[in-house]
Amino acid sequence: MESLGIVNYWIVIALMMIGLYIVISANNLIKKIIGLNIFQSSVFILYISIGKVGGGTAPILLKEPTVYSNPLPHVLILTAIVVGVATTALGLALIVRIRSAFGTIDDQDVQQDIERN
């Protein structure tokens, strides 16, 4: 059981690596946004994993004494998710405008277009 204890964190690391890999390797800007979202959600999973208490339940108070999980990471991540989608939308809007201006959403084509002019 000792080695099982931090498996959650190992998988968070793996997800974060995959997210970063997509952000760097993909040339398509929408694919990059998906990579950023995977990176972001790996951080969410890390926070929620830290807040889990063994044998606990959701932090909604009951009459009888109970063990609850830590509510603080829940609060932080709850707002972060909604802010995350708002910023994702802003990024997508920028991509749509880039497509209008350059006719492509390939980052290197855009780069070449800028250098040519």
Binding site: I60, L78, L92, A93, V96
Partner: protein, 145 residues
């Protein structure tokens, strides 16, 4: 989506339930899972479903963009307004205890009001995001729908 009869009928049945569920999540958030953020997103999702099935012109008739822009700003204003009201009543900014004679009742009232503000802003912004994307036309695009 104009020709999909099943989608039209099912969407018309589902949307009222989505809206009522959003209101339940909004105002029951003190006692169970829920709150302004979740309710706002669900409420916005109801309008987005309408927009996908019935088209953006019909949606803009129900929620005209100026109205949504106003409610988005009003939500933030309600939140800050509750904070400033606490200052006028002798407490600190966003201290809800002074809103009522009983501090616990004041906290309860303050949380209800600011969660409503959060829900209003989040729902409006989600509708704004969807309508902005739906309304945009690429300069070189040929299709009309």
């Amino acid at each position: 989506m104009k020709q999909h009869l099943i989608l039209h009928v099912i969407a018309k049945i589902m949307i009222p339930f989505i809206m009522v569920f959003a209101l339940y999540v909004q105002f029951h958030g003190d006692y169970g899972p829920g709150g302004g953020f979740q309710a706002g997103v669900i409420f916005g999702a109801g309008f987005i479903l309408y927009g996908i099935v019935f088209g953006k012109e019909a949606t803009m008739k129900i929620v005209p963009p100026p109205l949504v822009y106003t409610t988005a700003a009003l939500g933030v204003l309600l939140y800050t307004g509750v904070g400033v009201a606490g200052m006028f009543l002798g407490g600190e900014f966003l201290n809800y205890s002074v809103l009522s004679a009983d501090p616990v009742a004041g906290q309860h009232l303050g949380i209800l009001l600011i969660e409503f503000g959060v829900g209003m802003t989040v729902a409006s912004v989600m509708v704004i995001l969807f309508l902005s994307f739906a309304d945009y036309r690429q300069p070189d695009s040929q299709d009309t729908d």
